[in-house]
């Protein structure tokens, strides 16, 4: 993105009706490594590619459990993500303390969006530089939301954010009609296939740089462990979305 006039702070509109600071914040999300989410009638799966700052470093985790029934995947500034994650966890705990039941997912996403919007309307603040994919289950069903630094939030059947996410979205556009009735295994394989489309030529998916989290109506949020990831990556070699159509 090129530099613009009228971009010094959040409280200045451009003549074209844009808030450039907010747009720049959304660029920060696009620079983060890819994470994607997809849902069926019973499960939500989050897949992300973990970045390793250097050979000596560990891989940056991108998925965090908010509560038994809710989890997020982040793209963008990890420090900002930590703040939002802490906020969401606190809200869920308070709700559980008061009502002894799970925080409705849409409502928490709404609260996060309100918090984010607040940062876009103040001279002394900057927007959060992180986009979240929020996966959750509540009495209304299975949910996948995306939140933006702008304070907007959207509900999706499947979505990918971060670096080279367009490739994953293109995969989704071709195959999302299968997701609703997919089994958990098929859903995970679809997620990994989409992830594969978004990696660079010299990269490969392995159990170290891939993170998969699953959440279901009777399944609390868990991460797949290294062995399970290895097995799925092997299955990915022979997975073909076309075969799923033939089965149905």
């Amino acid at each position: 993105m090129l530099k613009h006039l009228y971009d010094t702070d959040c409280v200045t509109w451009s003549p074209q009706g844009k808030l450039f600071q907010v747009e720049y914040a959304m660029e920060a999300v696009k620079q983060g490594s890819i994470c994607l989410g997809l849902k069926s009638n019973d499960f939500v799966v989050l897949c992300s590619l973990k970045r390793q700052p250097s050979e000596l470093a560990g891989y940056q985790e991108k998925q965090f459990k908010i509560d038994d029934h809710m989890a997020i995947a982040i793209a963008g500034l990890t420090a900002d993500a930590r703040v939002l994650c802490k906020y969401m966890r606190t809200e869920c705990l308070e709700y559980k303390y008061t009502y002894e039941s799970h925080h409705p997912v849409g409502r928490l996403v709404f609260k996060v969006a309100e918090k984010s919007q607040h940062k876009t309307q103040s001279g002394a603040k900057r927007p959060y530089g992180v986009g979240l994919l929020v996966a959750g289950i509540d009495p209304n069903g299975v949910h996948l939301f995306e939140t933006c630094p702008s304070g907007n939030y959207y509900e999706y059947k499947c979505q990918a954010i971060g670096s080279r996410s367009q490739a994953a979205r293109t995969y989704f556009e071709s195959w999302f009609h299968l997701f609703e009735k997919s089994t958990l295994e098929q859903l995970i394989l679809h997620g990994l296939s989409a992830l594969k489309k978004a990696i660079m030529e010299d990269e490969e998916l392995n159990e170290k740089n891939v993170e998969v989290g699953i959440l279901g109506k009777n399944q609390k949020f868990i991460h797949l462990n290294a062995q399970e990831l290895k097995d799925y990556i092997v299955k990915l070699e022979t997975f073909n979305a076309n075969t799923q159509i033939q089965q149905e």
Partner: protein
């Protein structure tokens, strides 16, 4: 929830109630939950307000009644209705279940108890959610108990025998109503702060139904009363 006494700085503590409601009796039956109260608010020993509706509908499938300080009852109804309205604010169609209300009230009561300024109430929350009956008691200390039958006040002393003899958790609605009517008959005879006009309300799969007040049957034409009344004074 901020009370006026906290704003004005004069911290007062509820040590005894002023205008009080009587016993509440609630039972589950095969299709839902039924709650009964009388329609009296007493001002000490005076039967001051004799036509009071003391069962409130909180949401589509939850009803609430309590015995104790009536102004606290009115305030709690407002607070619980606020929660239901939040669905409108968030625009997401998510309504709290009866259990959510019960737990909220338990937390609220406990908080106020810890400040030695309790909501002077024994609360009963009844509801029907996802095909399951819900009935709970939250007392003045914030204790939360779910049960198949609840009695507060004098009903706990006089009515448990009637309930255990004539009610079971799978009885019909009419059977449950009869049990409650019988209980209030006994209460009217034995509880000085009871009244013979009662109100029943029940929640089932179709939602909450609050009936109009009705008078319990009482019998006063005993021979003993009649002949006594004709006795001349000072015959002994």
């Amino acid at each position: 929830m901020i009370f006026n006494s906290e704003i004005s700085g004069e911290q007062q503590h509820t040590t005894s109630p002023v205008v009080t409601g009587g016993s509440v009796i609630a039972l589950v039956y095969n299709g839902g939950v039924i709650v009964g109260t009388d329609t009296l608010c007493s001002y000490g020993s005076m039967a001051a307000f004799k036509n009071v509706k003391k069962i409130a509908q909180i949401s589509k499938n939850t009803i609430y009644a309590s015995s104790g300080e009536f102004s606290d009852f009115q305030q709690v109804v407002k607070e619980l209705a606020k929660i239901d309205r939040s669905a409108l604010q968030y625009d997401d169609g998510v309504h709290p279940s009866p259990k959510d209300y019960g737990n909220f009230l338990a937390r609220l009561s406990y908080k106020k108890r810890c400040k030695i300024n309790p909501l002077y109430l024994q609360n009963v929350i009844a509801g029907f959610h996802n095909g399951e009956r819900y009935l709970s008691l939250v007392d003045i200390y914030g204790t939360y108990l779910e049960s198949n039958f609840i009695t507060t006040g004098f009903a706990s002393y006089f009515c448990k025998a009637i309930i255990s003899n004539y009610w079971n958790e799978n009885c019909t609605l009419d059977q449950a109503k009869q049990v409650i009517r019988e209980c209030f008959k006994v209460l009217f005879c034995r509880d000085c702060r009871a009244h013979d006009v009662i109100q029943l309300a029940y929640v089932d799969a179709q939602g909450a139904h609050i009936e109009e007040p009705e008078r319990v049957e009482t019998k006063w034409d005993f021979n003993g009363f009649k002949s006594r009344a004709n006795e001349k004074l000072h015959t002994q």
